[in-house]
């Protein structure tokens, strides 16, 4: 067999069912050997979306998503998706073609130093020199991508290496001397956590995306219910607990809920679980009181103490560490503090009233998410649509909210939804309802992927919030730059419903809430992709 076949066989051994990709000359040997292997190739319409789709797949399947692209521009187009996955700790294995190894470094056609360019955005990368190394490298790549703090791994394979005859040896265990992630929390630290929680008057948990990476949603619910500690979440942590859960106080940070931010400033012990408290949770470092004791549980020791001074670090897999804490039968905290926050939370009524112009997007997200089947997967793009979604979504147990929290990459949702849908078909007993929610800006960065949905029969529903503006930037210009609006008008944009129709996708537009509700009903019953364009007033605020 040749190197290309060795890659494919290794992928099969890793249980890969799908590759998201876009072919080209230097990856042609790999594509040549794909037919008949049982691995399904999903042809996207832009390499960036191959990465996003692999990311969406990974987040639902709980194992690495795979994408393949060609060298040069194919690979550089993929960079944004790698960076997105890196920031959100999503496991991806990306295979890129590379020019002939004898030509490396000579700036030949479609040559790019992609391992160099991707270095800041990958957990690890390989430039393969010998075909016989391929099985080991693929095995290591899956191991590195999916263990510890997950992330993207890049395998760059020169075209001649793909064509070299080699023997296939997939035996042997992965043994990387410099890579031994800590899974179990330090026993002494666990006891200190228990002691600190015991003495806490107003303890609070801030949960992040690490819960999903650790597949710890059920354990998390059990944990918080046992200790009776209220919970706030980062953007990436939304859905770690059902949004209607009595202990859930909302999202923290710049675009979060006031109850959640107040809770942060009132807490005397703050337990961060799988959250890296980035600057978007910026209110956090400022609001956290000097005397607040911070306990930080994270798989990545480098995240602990990076953004917040930590009183008690616990390095380990969050699921394992929560199990360890529960094994000591921690005492249930009193209801007083929870009651205080609940009262605050209930005192706030959401901004769900009617609008004179267009549809209230916040009320729409609430109605939409409540109408969806419980185990829905909701992919939010970036912009105001993301904040309306994050702030108003109703998530029940088993539901997922996928968005790009770290990079904030516009054009993420449709491709990620496609990957998520495929993952749910592969890994779930029951099919899951998948919806992508975009703004009219982000839709135009990804609308070519409607073709991907159609070509491969991927049943993803798409909602486009149409306000004719780059709404989030418009809002910054309004608030910070004296409402001087520059380059945020999307005049000249096409009608999303007509665009959908051009791809053979049914759809409808909604100018009023009645029409939007009819649209939601149609979306739920429609077989195959469907697009609902919801008109939103251009002055609508994010919060």
């Amino acid at each position: 067999m040749n190197g290309a076949q060795a890659i494919i066989k290794s992928l099969q051994k890793e249980g890969v069912t799908h590759i998201f990709g876009y072919p080209g000359a230097t990856i042609a040997p790999l594509y040549d050997k794909l037919p008949g292997t049982g691995i399904r190739h999903i042809l996207v319409r832009h390499e960036q979306h191959a990465g996003h789709a692999a990311g969406g797949y990974a987040r639902i399947a709980g194992r690495p998503g795979v994408c393949a692209v060609t060298s040069g521009p194919g690979a550089t187009n993929l960079l944004t998706a790698l960076a997105t996955a890196y920031m959100d700790s999503v496991p991806i294995v990306a295979v890129t073609g590379q020019v002939d190894s004898s030509l490396l470094g000579r700036d030949v056609f479609q040559e790019a130093d992609i391992t160099g360019a991707a270095e800041p955005f990958t957990k690890y990368s390989y430039l393969v020199k010998n075909a016989q190394d391929l099985p080991r490298i693929v095995k290591e790549a899956f191991h590195i991508a999916s263990t510890g703090r997950p992330g993207p791994v890049l395998i760059d394979v020169p075209v001649d290496v793909q064509l070299t005859e080699t023997k296939f040896d997939f035996t042997g265990n992965v043994d990387i001397r410099g890579y031994k992630p800590t899974v179990k929390g330090h026993a002494g630290q666990i006891k200190r956590v228990l002691r600190t929680l015991e003495h806490a008057q107003c303890p609070l948990i801030c949960v992040g995306g690490g819960i999903f990476a650790a597949k710890a949603q059920d354990m998390f619910a059990q944990f918080v219910e046992t200790v009776n500690i209220p919970v706030v979440s980062t953007l990436m942590g939304i859905g770690a607990l059902p949004t209607a859960h009595p202990l859930y106080m909302g999202q923290v940070g710049m675009h979060g809920k006031s109850t959640a931010n107040d809770a942060i400033s009132e807490a005397d012990v703050l337990l961060l679980i799988g959250a890296r408290v980035s600057d978007r949770a910026v209110l956090l470092p400022d609001k956290v009181r000097r005397k607040t004791k911070i306990i930080h549980i994270d798989i990545d020791p480098a995240e602990i103490g990076k953004n917040l001074d930590t009183f008690l670090p616990v390095v380990g897999d969050v699921k394992t560490v929560m199990e360890q804490i529960l094994s000591y039968r921690p005492k249930r905290k009193g209801d007083e503090w929870v009651g205080f926050l609940t009262e605050k939370k209930n005192g706030k009524s959401p901004d769900h009233g009617g609008r004179a112009d267009g549809v209230n997007p916040k009320a729409f997200v609430s109605k939409l998410s409540k109408a969806l089947p419980d185990r829905f997967i909701y992919c939010a793009d970036v912009g105001q649509n993301q904040l309306w979604s994050a702030g108003n979504i109703d998530i029940r147990a088993g539901g997922r909210f996928l968005t790009t929290g770290g990079m904030g990459t516009m054009g993420y949702a449709i491709a990620a939804a496609a990957g998520a849908k495929i993952a749910s078909e592969v890994s779930d007993a029951a099919e899951r309802f998948v919806i992508a929610v975009c703004g009219d800006g982000s839709f135009q960065m990804s609308m070519m992927e409607l073709a991907t949905l159609m070509q491969h029969g991927i049943d993803v529903k798409v909602v486009v919030m149409v306000n004719g503006k780059l709404g989030l930037v418009r809002e910054i210009q309004t608030d910070v730059y004296g409402d001087r609006q520059v380059a945020v008008d999307l005049a000249g944009s096409p009608d999303p419903v007509v665009i959908a129709r051009a791809y053979g996708i049914d759809g409808a537009a909604a100018d009023t809430m009645e029409q939007a509700e009819a649209g939601i009903r149609e979306l739920l019953s429609h077989k195959g992709p469907y697009l609902l364009a919801v008109r939103v007033g251009e002055r609508e605020s994010s919060l």
């Binding site: 270095e119 957990k123 001397r177």
Partner: protein, 161 residues
């Protein structure tokens, strides 16, 4: 404050660029960096001197540890280590100054390794601050060019990274 950090890494292509890229990306200032083989051919030792506070030193250590090709990282306290640097300095000399420069070399225990009608080349290995002193002394004359290695360091006694 200066921190001397010893890093054991896999001896393979691309590792040094991963390390130096990390420093550039995260805004850590490198004073010096020295790389060389160790007693184990598969492992290289990188000695990095960085200038910054304890927070920065901790971040450097954690981020280095995160690199998959990095095997061990140790922030070495000045009191527990022996540090060395090597310098080669070429000084312009005329007849009248040669004696003075030779005196300096003798007092500092340097070796004169090359001589021409107009220049002297001085080799010196010692603690970094002694190398600084020599260069300061020679700067009174005309230094044609010089090359200086980064600091390397080993723990005193039986301890090791």
């Amino acid at each position: 404050m200066k921190h001397t950090i010893a890093v054991l890494v896999e001896n393979k292509a691309g590792v040094l660029s991963r390390i130096s890229g990390l420093f550039a990306r995260r805004g850590f200032n490198i004073d010096s960096l020295a790389v060389g083989p160790t007693e184990d051919a598969r492992i290289s030792r990188v000695t990095i001197v960085v200038d910054g506070d304890d927070y920065m030193a901790e971040q450097v250590t954690k981020q280095l540890n995160k690199l998959i090709d990095v095997l061990k990282v140790r922030n070495l306290a000045d009191s527990e280590i022996t540090r060395r640097e090597l310098a080669l300095v070429k000084v312009k000399v005329d007849e009248s100054k040669r004696g003075e420069i030779v005196d300096i070399a003798k007092i500092m225990n340097c070796e004169i390794v090359d001589i021409s009608h107009t220049t002297l080349m001085i080799e010196f290995d010692d603690r970094p601050e002694r190398v600084d002193l020599l260069i300061d002394l020679l700067s009174k004359y005309s230094i044609v060019e010089m090359a200086r290695t980064g600091t390397i360091a080993l723990q005193k006694g039986h301890g090791s990274v």
